[in-house]
């Protein structure tokens, strides 16, 4: 075993950190004590289960199994992203379609151009990162659109009253939402390596890979996160726009 991978004893010792977090939220009366414990326990259970499943997946199922795993991640991510923007019509479907499109486009390109290997050991973790990027793009776009539909309602109705179609009346708000959703991905890309050292690089460095090899992976990761967030954000925005207005171009969100 590589010395850089913690033993089970090390994992148990790290529970002390949960204790510190728990102590702090109690002391500051943040009302988050239960959440800290539940989240920590949940993380451990989820990761052990996932580790076991991945072991089976990598050994026996090949690319179809890996893609099935990615599909399950897409469905879950769609629910999470949609849940953040409750109030928009059909938001679960919209979010899931957006995450699926962002993931399919990004992962499809990486596989087709042979940037990444087709083995489950590669497709599953890379797919996970792509799904996360797509989820964040879709989630932030939809959340912001929901907020814009509330705070910008009078402006949207003023444009509708001028005879503009719903999609045109909401266009400035869609732009605002997409900008807000994509700026974190763009900023993350800007400062990568300088401020943040993302998971993929950290993992490779811990595994003892040469830093110049590790950053090659990271460049691909940053570009794919940007791509996935952009595709998912724009698809979420466009799809949501269709559901936010009825046939008579009235804002129903």
């Amino acid at each position: 075993m590589s010395p850089s991978v913690p033993s089970w004893y090390g994992v148990a010792a790290s529970v002390l950190l949960v204790g510190i977090a728990f102590f702090l939220v109690l002391r500051e009366r943040l009302g988050l004590g239960r959440e800290v414990l539940v989240a920590s326990a949940r993380a451990a259970v989820q990761l052990v289960a996932v580790g076991g499943l991945l072991l089976i997946l990598f050994r026996h199922t090949g690319l179809p199994g890996a893609l099935a795993w990615v599909t399950a991640m897409v469905l879950l991510a769609g629910r999470v992203a949609g849940g953040r923007a409750r109030g928009l019509p059909h938001v679960m479907r919209v979010a899931t379609l957006a995450v699926a499109t962002g993931t399919a486009a990004t992962l499809g390109l990486l596989l087709a151009a042979q940037v990444i290997d087709t083995s489950g050991r590669v497709v599953v973790p890379v797919g996970g990162m792509v799904v996360t990027g797509a989820m964040q793009g879709a989630s932030m776009t939809l959340q912001r659109m929901r907020d814009e539909a509330i705070t910008g309602r009078r402006a949207v109705e003023a444009r509708l009253a001028l005879g503009l179609a719903g999609s045109v009346a909401f266009a400035p708000h869609l732009r605002t939402s997409l900008r807000a959703a994509l700026i974190p991905a763009i900023d993350g890309t800007k400062v990568v390596g300088l401020i943040s050292l993302p998971g993929a690089t950290v993992g490779l460095l811990l595994a003892g890979v040469n830093p110049l090899t590790a950053i090659r992976y990271q460049v691909v990761v940053m570009y794919m996160l940007l791509g996935a967030a952009a595709v998912a954000g724009v698809v979420a925005g466009r799809l949501a726009l269709r559901t936010m207005f009825d046939d008579a171009h009235r804002l129903v969100a």
């Binding site: 009078r154 109705e157 444009r159 509708l160 009253a161 001028l162 005879g163 503009l164 008579a248």
Partner: protein, 227 residues
């Protein structure tokens, strides 16, 4: 037949929202080239009725007609270009005066923009002036001009002076009076009975979702209550 002599008419219009009756069987006409006030106590259904007229809301039952034809038989965007709306508090949609005016009509020329500003008493304003620097009264008159830019035949005014001080309110009233004198049809929702008396030719008085009174403003018992 209902609606033949009027620009807009309502035929037994009901609106039920969340199980509560907001309008219960209103039949009324809006005559062309006149200002019709929608008056009545708060919660009587005035703003709902106004929003029915450009299909920002839909009746639960009954029909709203434009020139005798049901509104849904027109393209809804055409209805909204023909029936403009000015909201309660000014909502500015462009960074500069001319950008704001072009919201509904991007092809508006500078000459046309200047002419529109003249119609609402803003002839002295530069087209490049930032809308954020306009006073409340100026902003509301710009909203009027923006609605006029699309070329409506009817203007719906939803308490257009309620967010303004007295001087600004008078400036908006002057513009509305001049526009009606020029042949525009106006429908005005106002809480201010004296304002309704000053501006309106006709009045529809709503109470608890029903039509209580309809006729010339000068003969209205409800408006006469304002001293």
């Amino acid at each position: 037949m209902i609606g033949m002599q009027s620009v807009l008419s309502l035929d037994d219009v009901h609106v039920v929202r969340d199980g509560v009756s907001v309008l219960g069987g209103v039949t009324a006409q809006i005559a062309p080239g006149r200002c019709t006030a929608l008056a009545g106590p708060s919660g009587a259904g005035k703003s709902t009725l106004l929003r029915l007229l450009d299909r920002l809301e839909e009746p639960t039952a009954g029909t709203v007609l434009l020139h005798g034809r049901p509104l849904p038989s027109y393209d809804v965007l055409e209805v909204r270009r023909r029936v403009g709306l000015v909201q309660q508090a000014p909502v500015l949609l462009g960074a500069t005066v001319v950008e704001d005016l072009r919201t509904g009509r991007p092809t508006l020329s500078e000459d046309e923009a200047v002419e529109l500003l003249g119609r609402v008493g803003l002839a002295d304003q530069a087209l490049s002036r930032l809308t954020a620097s306009l006073s409340g009264g100026e902003a509301q008159r710009l909203c009027l001009a923006r609605a006029l830019a699309v070329g409506p035949e009817v203007l719906l005014l939803d308490e257009p002076t309620s967010a303004l001080d007295a001087v600004a309110a008078m400036s908006v009233e002057r513009v509305v009076r001049a526009l009606v004198a020029d042949g525009l049809t106006a429908v005005l929702v106002s809480h201010d009975l004296r304002q309704a008396r000053r501006l309106a030719d006709d009045v529809l008085v709503l109470r608890a979702g029903g039509l209580e009174e309809a006729g010339p403003a000068a003969e209205s018992r409800y408006l006469a209550g304002a001293s």
